[in-house]
């Protein structure tokens, strides 16, 4: 027993004595926030993305590798609004890291800083996997990226005051480039106005709202439930009365259901990047919006 205690203490001292890392460790729950932190922190941050574009952020296992990473994080950036409820709370309680607990500067819930859509009036599990705080997939409205970017810049500066000037300069540069890009996107997306699309999951709502498009249905019968044959048949019928221009899906969705609807309703199925890394062109946040708009424009008539 004594030797074990000695070992524990010795390990703790060894851990504390490790040289302080040069960069701030940022743990991003989703790749879009990782990309944003990278834009705003540059070489002053070391970013770890907990998930990839091939994973459904609702369904992640609290894997040992994630606990190991969040253990040393200085800043955790997540969408929030219960998106990560199945795994993030466990990572936080298992981390032994006081800096990133809820309420600390090191814990940033992006959706708290934007106007959320689809806040349910009725909260009942019979309605599927709904989020009481509203739709958590806030990142596909470019205005939200700008807003969350401001908060990230501010947090970086507070966590690493020595480099506050660098974060300030990067923030100014990013926001300028982002505003310019937004003007371009608004112009391009004007051709998408009113265009009806069928979504897979309700993860496109913020984009649809920004581009003033229209959601004509979703492949999931209820949020979070996999498409069923009965629901798809209903959707095919619905398309006869209210035809959509396209059915869209993300890289983490199986394309099967989208292709089924595409064939039966004779509308194109379009894979969208959904997040950074979702397609080859969506290499960063700019590419994410460029490619999303470009792919939708190919089916807009």
């Amino acid at each position: 027993m004594k030797t074990i205690l000695k070992f524990l203490v010795a390990s703790a001292i060894a851990a504390a004595a490790l040289p302080a890392a040069a960069a701030l460790n940022v743990f991003a729950c989703e790749p879009e926030w990782g990309a944003l932190a990278q834009e705003l922190g540059g070489d002053k941050v070391s970013v770890f993305n907990a998930t990839t574009s091939l994973q459904d952020p609702h369904r992640i296992e609290a894997r040992p590798s994630l606990i190991a990473r969040i253990r040393s994080a200085d800043l955790v950036i997540c969408s929030g609004s219960e998106l990560e409820i199945g795994w993030l709370p466990l990572l936080l309680t298992q981390s032994g890291n006081p800096k990133i607990q809820p309420g600390e500067i090191g814990n940033l819930e992006a959706s708290q800083f934007v106007v959320r859509l689809e806040i349910p009036k009725v909260i009942d599990r019979a309605l599927g996997d709904i989020h009481p705080s509203g739709n958590p997939h806030i990142h596909l409205d470019p205005r939200n990226i700008a807003k969350v970017g401001e908060v990230v810049s501010e947090r970086l500066a507070r966590l690493d005051p020595a480099n506050a000037g660098v974060y300030q300069a990067r923030a100014t540069s990013f926001q300028q480039r982002w505003q310019a890009a937004m003007q371009r996107w608004e112009q391009e997306a004007s051709r998408l106005k009113g265009m009806p699309i069928v979504v897979y999951h309700k993860d496109m709502s913020y984009f649809i709202n920004w581009a003033a498009m229209r959601e004509a249905g979703s492949l999931e019968p209820k949020p979070g439930l996999q498409p069923t044959p009965v629901h798809l048949a209903e959707l095919v019928e619905h398309m006869k009365r209210d035809p959509a221009k396209a059915v869209v899906y993300s890289s983490y969705n199986s394309p099967g259901a989208a292709e089924f609807l595409s064939q039966r309703a004779n509308i194109p199925a379009v894979q969208l990047p959904f997040t950074v890394g979702g397609t080859d062109k969506a290499k960063d946040l700019f590419g994410l919006f460029d490619d999303t708009i470009a792919r939708l424009l190919t089916v807009a008539k």
């Binding site: 851990a15 994973q55 040992p64 009036k121 439930l225």
Partner: protein, 475 residues
Amino acid sequence: MVSVNVTALAVAAALGIPQAAHAATEDDLKELREQVRQLKEVYEQRIGSLEKRLQQTEQSAGKAEAAASKAETTANQAAVQASSRPTSESAFNPGVSVIMNGIYANLSQDPAKFRINGFVPTLDEVAPPVRGLSLGESELALASNIDHNFRGTLIASISPDNSSIDIEEGYIQTLSLPSGFTIKAGRFFSGIGYLNQVHAHAWDFADAPLANKVFLGNQLNEDGVQFKWVAPTQLYFDLGLEAGRGRKFPGGPDGGRNKNGFGSGNLFAHLGGDLGASIAWQTGLSYLSTSPQDRTFADLDSTGTSVTNSITGKSRLWALDGVLKWAPNQNSTYTNFKLQGEYFRRREDGVLTYDTMAQSFGTQVGGYASAQSGWYLQGVYQFAPTWRVGLRYDRLNSGTTSNALVNSGALTAADFPILAGYDPHRSTAMIDWSASEFSRLRLQFARDYSQPGATDNQIFLQYIMSLGAHGAHKF
């Protein structure tokens, strides 16, 4: 415009006509006409400007309306967001969830006579559920951050038949210790092995592996303190130390000894990480040391009398566990596979007291030692989004047991039939369906060779449902 002019004329006429009645001369008349004309002009001008202002007002009103409706939308959104944040005291209510489960059991052997031969049993706690339909234990869980330093979790299990409420887990844990340290205090599932820390409703089979039954009495929850440290490395590594009361098997007596200090100690370490993009793994080694005192068990001696025996001494249990989870690109939505296994090895030594109640040959005491082991291996495959199938194989090795009362000839092996050497084993298959994360229906078949010559064919049909707060499950 036309109607306005007509109105203007009418007004002018109304004003002019009474005066015209008094007019006598042509001059007067002319003057009057001139006055009327002027009046008409003035009124037309005034009315024109009024009209212009009206139009302007109308336009700005339209604008205001648009602005108002915009403001209303924003206000609505703000209001909805505000309303989504409860403002009363209940806003701080902890997350509450309830697990409900029920089971239909079809057993070829009487569960009341269930024994795992070769092992000091813990009897009814490890037996299969009663035959036919029965309600399983309901679980009520409350969890919340207490303040910035502590988090509290209380999980009570309500058993349906004797209406007792047990605290399955009730612990506080620290949130603000630096450098990867966490301290837990209260009652919690001991960090021995892998499955022991997982709540029964999250198990992949309806019952515990035989090894967990004989070495941990199904599941060991200890009253104590746990210190855990997570290393600052990219490869996951943790070390833990638990000191407890020893309130349950393999400690004992039930409720723990009447003494100061600790009745049990547990050390554990885990290593874990990812292998490529699709595999995650974790392995653990743990060592549980307890000092059972008068830990009783029932047996039928050679006269066929049911006697109570007890063991006092030391019990040391090693557990080696491993879990490997595969999901294409870690996207477990469609297909995934989980391989899990544990190996236990236990050494016990001390004294065995035969017939503590002096119901048969009278109370006798002799030395006792045993070295026993057991393991299980299971695989669960999700082949479609809501469907999983699983296979499990259990095996125990009763190893060597030295009983001084038998060796000295004071009693015979027939007086301790439950301690007779035997290697119990069991094969299990299951299929389950989960329409959502909150519901699960399971069908399970098992062939259980826990007792020689009494193969138990078991069929379980089970539901496990959770309502309330969204639980998060450990890896």
